[in-house]
């Protein structure tokens, strides 16, 4: 299933999450935009097909907030590319956002798994 249609939906879904994904991806080292897109695709086992337009805008946003820094460079096959790397601030944000995300998913899980009724209260 391609997630290319319905741009609006995707933006709404991924505005916050796309940032986290990008930051995480860059944790492993500087990368250019196309590389980030491929990495996210691969690592999510093809669940996330990133809209490249939104990706670049997200990258610009992160750059404006100084969570990542960018520089023009040369790729492996001698192509010109703009490389992004994580800043110290970005690293902090990644930690913060990751724990936030984990809290969110845990809460979701608790509610969704609570189909057995209120008696079943586990810590």
């Amino acid at each position: 299933m391609t997630t290319q249609e319905n741009n609006d939906d995707r933006i709404a879904l991924l505005q916050g999450t796309l940032d986290v994904l990008i930051l995480k991806t860059l944790l492993m080292g500087p990368c250019h935009g196309q590389g980030v897109a491929r990495l996210i695709q691969r690592q999510s086992e093809e669940v996330f097909l990133v809209d490249h337009g939104s990706l670049y805008l997200a990258l610009q946003r992160l750059e404006d907030r100084k969570w990542i820094s960018a520089k023009w460079g040369v790729s492996e096959n001698n192509r010109k590319a703009r490389f992004y790397s994580l800043t110290a601030k970005g690293r902090e944000q990644l930690v913060a956002k990751t724990s936030e995300w984990r809290r969110l998913t845990r809460a979701m899980g608790l509610i969704l798994d609570a189909s057995k009724g209120p008696q079943n209260e586990e810590a």
Binding site: Q4, H32, R38, G53, Q60
Partner: protein, 875 residues
């Protein structure tokens, strides 16, 4: 590398790079070159959209759109420069008219005089809305007996002979009392101002203060002017200071140059009126203490007035002090000035409305021409609101440009007006220098105008059906349609212009009436020379002798038909005196019969002035100070006192109780204003009441060389200086030009209204022409079909322009009715004429017809020359 904002090109570069990298990767995965490239693009999504979102990310969308619209509007205007220039000029003139009138209104009426805390400064008048002149003892009584004023001063304007470095010039100045400068509370810019000590008693001080403009112009802004000695009316005075810049006395339009202590009045004027309760020469000016309200002040003044009347029953019976704002002689001048300016503002507003109607019509026509463009816009997704905004921005652009031009025009006009000196020897100047608040006013008016005519095409835009419009190719006019907005606008415009044209003709008629009316004197071929002997140091006797000698000498100059002199002449300075009936025994002011204009004349006056003596005799040399008191009176005087014009031999009494016998009746004349009703006047022999200041009237025989009035004026000047070079001559000119000032209001009104009328006419011509050509051009196809089918010229014309003629006539009729209805307003501006005058109506109707004919001439020719074959072939 550090850059503040990333450029759009850089972003596009990155996208390009991305696509390359993606293509490479896809090739590695096994796709062919073209397939990889295509897939890379498709997977990316819309590059355009991404670029647009990047571009819009940081921008204020609304500002962007606005700038875009403005650029578009400018381009549109550039494409039709004729329209743009016409529109901007029309609007500029309309707005400028309003701004100029408002500027004058603001300076003359709205703003108080330029002193600290002006709301605390007041003057008094004798009657409600009366002339604020009092006698000095009355003002002194208020000063000594009041508790509500911090200072009570008095001023009296006069002309002085100022001798600086050996040359004497007539200079207007004020005699002021000791508390005058305390009342106005200004600071000196050099030296000191006059104080109570200077005014303590006659001769206490020989100090004089200069006004700041006088210091600049007469003394060259000499920083060492303090301590300089000058001679004023041949008395030695020392300049002790200069008033602050911006202080122009307590009158809105008179600028005194000199201030001297009032206590020295007798020595300066040659005649003592200071202590006389009946001589009302003085204008009071007072400052109310902080915290005291006007009603309280008025109450105290009433008490004081009653007390003065009780203590001086003979002279002060019926005394009243009414509070009034200073600057415009209380309400005496303020009232007519207010009405005149209000009337002019109304006319200016009408002109602006007409201009807006004109522009609105033009705009509506242009929009109709752009239906195709609008339709396409709507079809590709623009909202109607966006289109309306575009039109509005065009309108605002024009109105802002018009407003800017108007600012420039108003600045020029107001500065010119401020520098101009009316044709009179009074130091009148209207200091209407332009102020920044006028820019604000111009801006507001421009915005209003822009909105008004910009919104005209609104309905059109909202009713445009894109499909129909594109199909129809922009030709939307159908015969027999209902009245369009354009038609209504034209009618409104014609009506408004009609009003201004009516006003112009009314004022022209009024001026003509004023100029041809019977003044009671004949100023043609006569010379008026005014001079004052007291500044030259003459005693009363010496003055009398010189005057008689002068009359003799002048009578013998070749070209002189008659010569005589008087203390003053009709329609110049006026003095009045109280007249009591013969039977009166109680000579309190309230018991008088009336006040009459007062003239003291030499024998031969009536012949020189050519005032007909209807009955009785002229003043003779045998009427001297020792013979019985006699006088010549005007017809109205006789009518008022005796209810008949045949009053020769009867008597009346003056305020001193003396009996005066009437020896002659003079014909009706104008004494104060050309527009007044017949008034009472009395002419005394000058030997029985000598005057140091006289006006010499010389009647010339124009057919003799040197006998023209202008040449004679110079001759007389030389003659007087031949007798004594030290006599300051105030004025020596043909009597007609000396009288020019009396006609000055009528002339100003005519010029102003004439300008408005001309502008209104111009507007109606352009409006009519515009609409006529537009109508004809739109209906050329229809007209050509009619011609092809055999219509004759008359039928073609009636089809093309019949409707327009209806509009024109209805507009003109409406306008004339409006003009008649507003004649009351017009009479505030111009007297002696009304809009109901049949001559005026005929003139207006004729003018409208003529301009209508001129305007439609062009389009009519075009309609008649239509070539059906050629036209029907084109689309």
């Amino acid at each position: 590398m550090f850059w503040r904002k990333r450029s759009a090109e850089d972003f596009s570069e990155e996208i390009k790079a991305h696509l390359e990298l993606e293509t490479d990767e896809l090739k590695r995965e096994g796709l062919g070159e073209d397939e990889a490239r295509w897939k890379a693009r498709r997977v990316f999504g819309s590059v355009r959209a991404a670029q647009e979102r990047f571009y819009l990310k940081d921008r204020l969308v609304w500002l962007d759109n606005l700038l875009h619209d403005v650029q578009f509007a400018l381009r549109q205007m550039g494409r039709s420069p004729g329209f743009a220039i016409t529109a901007v000029s029309i609007l500029a003139l309309g707005i400028a008219a309003n701004v100029i009138v408002f500027g004058v209104l603001q300076t003359i009426i709205l703003q108080p005089i330029d002193v600290p805390q002006p709301d605390r400064v007041v003057t008094f008048s004798q009657r409600n809305h009366g002339y604020p002149a009092f006698s000095y003892p009355e003002v002194r009584d208020v000063r000594d007996g009041s508790t509500v004023f911090s200072a009570v001063g008095a001023e009296s304007m006069s002309v002085f002979g100022l001798e600086v470095n050996g040359s004497t010039q007539p200079v207007w100045g004020e005699e002021v009392s000791g508390q005058y400068f305390e009342a106005v509370a200004i600071q000196p810019s050099l030296g000191r101002l006059l104080t109570r000590a200077d005014d303590d008693h006659p001769g206490a001080s020989q100090a004089a203060v200069l006004s700041w403009p006088a210091w600049k112009s007469r003394f060259g802004a000499d920083p060492n002017v303090v301590g300089k000695t000058v001679r004023i009316n041949k008395h030695s005075y020392t300049i002790v200071g200069v008033t602050q810049e911006g202080f122009n006395g307590t009158w809105k339009f008179l600028q005194p140059e000199l201030f001297v202590p009032m206590a020295n009045q007798a020595s300066l004027d040659g005649v003592n009126w200071l202590e006389n309760r009946l001589d009302k020469h003085v204008f009071p000016i007072a400052r109310i203490k902080d915290g005291i309200a006007q009603p309280q002040v008025q109450a105290e003044l009433n008490t004081i007035a009653a007390r003065i009347a009780r203590q001086n029953p003979r002279e002060e019976d019926g005394l009243h002090f009414w509070l009034a704002p200073p600057g415009l002689a209380g309400d005496f001048i303020a009232r007519p000035a207010r009405r005149f300016l209000a009337g002019t503002m109304l006319l200016a507003g009408i002109v602006l409305l007409a201009a807006c109607a004109n522009l609105g019509g033009l705009f509506a026509a242009r929009t109709a021409d752009r239906t195709r463009e609008i339709a396409i816009r709507l079809a590709v997704g623009s909202s109607r609101w966006r289109v309306v905004r575009q039109i509005l921005i065009e309108a605002f652009l024009i109105s802002m440009l018009g407003g800017a031009c108007a600012c420039g025009l108003s600045w020029l006009a107001l500065t010119g007006l401020a520098r101009w000196h009316p044709p009179t020897d009074y130091p009148i100047k209207f200091l209407v220098y332009p102020k920044p608040s006028l820019i604000l006013m111009a801006f507001l008016v421009s915005v209003l105008a822009g909105v008004l005519f910009g919104l005209m095409p609104l309905r059109q835009i909202f009713n445009t059906d894109p499909i129909e419009a594109i199909k129809g190719g922009g030709n939307q006019s159908a015969a027999g349609r209902r009245w369009a907005l354009r038609d209504v606008l034209l009618t409104v415009q014609i009506a408004l212009c009609c009003v201004t044209v009516t006003a112009a003709f009314v004022s022209l008629r009024g001026l003509r009436n004023t100029l041809t009316m019977d003044l009671g004197i004949n100023p043609k071929d006569a010379v008026l020379t005014k001079f004052d002997l007291s500044p030259a140091g003459y005693t009363a006797q010496a003055a009398e002798q010189l005057q008689r000698q002068l009359q003799e000498t002048v009578s013998h100059i070749p070209g002189v038909e008659a010569a005589a002199y008087a203390n003053t002449t009709p329609l110049a300075d006026t003095v009045t005196t109280a007249v009591y009936s013969q039977q009166t025994t109680d000579f309190r002011p309230s018991k008088k019969a009336f006040e009459a204009y007062y003239y003291t004349v030499s024998p031969g006056y009536f012949a020189a002035a050519q005032t007909p003596l209807l009955e009785g005799r002229d003043i003779r040399t045998t009427d001297t100070a020792t013979t019985p008191k006699v006088a010549v009176v005007s017809q109205e005087f006789a009518r008022q006192l005796f209810h008949t014009e045949h009053a020769v031999g009867r008597s009346f009494k003056n305020s001193s109780g003396q009996s005066i016998q009437i020896i002659g009746i003079a014909a009706e004349g104008k004494y104060f204003l050309p527009s007044e009703e017949p008034d009472e006047a009395v002419f005394f022999p000058i030997q029985q009441r000598p005057s140091a200041s006289v006006s010499l009237i010389v009647r010339t025989r124009p057919d003799v060389t040197g006998g023209s009035a202008a040449e004679m004026a110079t001759t007389i000047r030389k003659t007087i200086h031949g007798l004594d070079p030290a006599i300051p001559i105030e004025l020596s000119a043909p009597w007609t030009s000396a009288l020019a000032f009396s006609f000055f209001p009528a002339q100003v009104a005519t010029v102003a209204l004439g300008l408005f009328g001309a502008f209104g006419l111009l507007l109606s011509i352009t409006g009519t022409f515009g609409l006529a050509s537009y109508t004809v051009s739109k209906r050329l196809r229809e007209l050509s079909i009619r011609v092809a089918l055999g219509a004759r010229a008359k039928q073609v014309l009636s089809a093309a322009l019949g409707r327009m003629l209806t509009l024109l006539t209805s507009g003109a009729l409406a306008g004339m009715l409006l003009g008649v209805a507003t004649s009351k307003v017009l009479s505030a501006i111009v007297y002696q004429a009304s809009a109901q005058d049949p001559v005026v109506l005929a003139a207006v109707a004729g003018t409208i017809l003529l301009t209508g004919a001129i305007s439609v001439a062009g389009p009519v020719r075009r309609a008649l020359r239509v070539n059906p074959a050629k036209l029907l072939r084109e689309d």
